[in-house]
Each structure stands twice: as structure tokens, then as C-alpha cells.
Symmetry: C2
Subunit: 194 residues, 2 copies
């Protein structure tokens, strides 16, 4: 059975529209970006950066990130959240602080019943640039090009948009594979020859 | 000016009662404990463990920790939150995961307007056992003894209670020092001889 990756090209139903919130959490700046896939085309919805540097105390800074993300989810009503998996950090302290920001981002998604999708940095670069070892600037340029945005996108927001694009690029493939599995299983089942 | 560390021993006003929620955040188990200091005496209020191991997906596990802590704050109405500072971790992954659990604990405190107090492991051991290099079992035993609890306290809850006790032990000293500062400054000001 052939797995079709491209959309059928027919009329777009609301079921075909997928809106994803990409998040790039950080203790100081948290980038976010909302991207839609409709009828096989990527469409930019919004992007921005939550600046939590000015808040007094880490509790209030986390609160600022959480409330901003809650507001973004309420405003743009995404179907899911996509963010980068993290494996490395300069040291335990920076991993811990990044984890704190990441924790409230994941919480904002879970509290709104949104599915969380995570991808490695290489997976995101591969989906956006076509090369898993691409430089940060290449990702920024390709994000702008894919979403037909002019002007420079802030680095954190570009990373968030890239995570959203990664999910939207991988989803059709994932859906077709999952859709094909039951028939593949039936076809391959022993003693079930036609 | 002498700095008095002991309470005056007079009638206890509601202002003298300090109720602190200690938290020991973890990705699987989050210990918590509420301790009160009234008229110079420590008093156990409640303790427990939030088990987030069974939740499907890290977002839902963080949501479970957050909601449980929100419920604990609503039930016991503490004046502040105390937890251990973390400096070391096995690796970036464990620091990141611990950070995520810590992030939602700090968020629960901030969203309820509670002040966050943090102490190093050595400060907590010193306040509870009298020795900064004390073993975990010694801390558990001393927590039970100080709070007049019989039976074994789960390790995570004991750590949370120890963090709360640390704040309550240090607070009178801190308050007296802060209270003494303006007069000390006036006394020491040049050209202000009596």
C-alpha cells in the first residue's frame, strides 16, 4: 500500500486545519509562535516573546511565563503544543532553571488539554531546513521563507515557530502511517490469506 | 544593642503564628509538609506525598503536582513556602526533569501570593540536626522528634518538613536582625554623636 504524504487537494474542511503553538521556553525570554496547516499549506498566525527578565523573584517570573502562555492559548486556540527536547545544558544550574521554565510551559499545555509533541533539535532542523546540522541563522531564514514573513524574526520566536512547523510537516506522514497500520496488520496476519 | 532570639513568652497573637509549607519537589514523588511556629513552639500541621508516577505524559504529571499543591495551599493557608536550593544533579536530564517539577511548585506558590524561601541542604541540616553534614536518616529522626511525631515519616515528606522547620528556626533571628538594622545604622552614622 502506498502512503500518500501530500494532501488530496480537495476542499479544506475544518478537520484538515491544524493549528499548533510552538514554544521555546527560557528563564529570561520564552519564544512562542502559532502556525496553521490548511490544505497542505503552512500559514503564519502569530509569534512573539515573553520577557520575564524584569519580574522580581523566580516565582513571579515563572508566573509571568505561565499567564502569558495561558493568554496565548486562549487567544489562538491551538490544537496542540510543540517544543524542542533538551538533552544538554552548560551545567546543573542552567538545566534546572531551564527545566523550571519548561515545567510551566508544559503545565500551561496540560491544563488546557493540549497534546504535547517534542522533537530533537536535529529533527526540527531537518524538517525546516532539510539538514539536521543546520545553523541557527539558517533556521531563522527558512522559517521566515516558509511562512512568507518579511523582516527579522527574534531568535526565540523563530525557534518556537520552527518547532510548530516540525510537527505540522511530520503530522501528515505520521497520520498516514497510523492509518495504514490496521490494514498492514490484517494483510500480514498469518492464516488470513485472501 | 543585644539581639534577642527567643520569643518574649507573652500571650500569642495571631501575628506571632507563622505557618509554612515545605516542599520537596520531584518528578515522581513530591513531598510536602505544613509546620507552624506559635509562641516559639514548633507544631506539626500536616504532611504527605504527591505521587505523580501514574499520570500519562509529563504534562499531566506536572498538572497533578500543581493541582495537588494548589489544593494543599487552599486547605492549610500557609504564610510562605520553603524549599531546598539545588546545585547538583546526576546529569542534565535529571536536572531538567527536577527543574520542571520545581517550576510548577514555585508557580503554585507565586500564583497564591506566597513568599518563597530557599535554603541549601547544609542550612536545612544545620537548622534541624545542628550539623550541616548530617545523614538523611538523622534528618528524618530529628524532624519526627521536633514535631513530636511517632512512626516513620516518608523521606520526601520529611525533607519538606525539614525545609519548613529551617525557615521557622531562622526567621526569629532574621526578623531581629532586620529590626535592629535601622537603629544600628543610626547609631553608626558619622556626625550623629548623641
Amino acid at each position: 500500500m502506498a502512503i500518500r504524504l501530500e494532501p488530496s487537494g480537495g476542499a479544506i474542511s475544518s478537520h484538515d486545519v491544524q493549528r499548533i503553538l510552538g514554544i521555546d521556553p527560557g528563564t529570561v525570554r520564552t519564544g512562542w509562535g502559532v502556525v496553521e496547516m490548511a490544505g497542505g499549506s503552512l500559514c503564519h498566525v502569530a509569534h512573539g516573546t515573553v520577557n520575564a527578565a524584569q519580574g522580581p523573584g523566580q516565582g513571579n517570573r515563572l508566573s509571568r511565563i505561565y499567564r502569558s502562555l495561558q493568554e496565548i492559548v486562549r487567544s489562538y486556540e491551538p490544537h496542540g503544543v510543540s517544543l524542542e527536547k533538551v538533552f544538554f545544558a552548560r551545567n546543573a544550574q542552567s538545566a534546572l532553571k531551564l527545566g523550571q521554565a519548561r515545567g510551566v510551559a508544559l503545565l500551561a499545555a496540560a491544563e488546557n488539554g493540549l497534546a504535547i509533541h517534542e522533537y530533537t533539535s536535529a529533527e526540527i532542523k531537518l524538517a525546516v531546513v532539510g539538514y539536521g546540522g543546520a545553523a541557527k541563522e539558517q533556521v531563522q531564514k527558512m522559517v521566515a521563507s516558509l511562512l512568507r514573513l518579511s523582516g527579522r524574526i527574534p531568535a526565540d520566536a523563530a525557534d518556537a515557530l520552527a518547532a510548530a512547523i516540525c510537527y505540522l510537516h511530520q503530522r501528515p506522514f505520521h497520520d498516514r502511517v497510523v492509518g495504514a497500520l490496521p490494514s498492514l496488520r490484517t494483510e500480514g496476519k498469518p492464516g488470513r490469506a485472501p
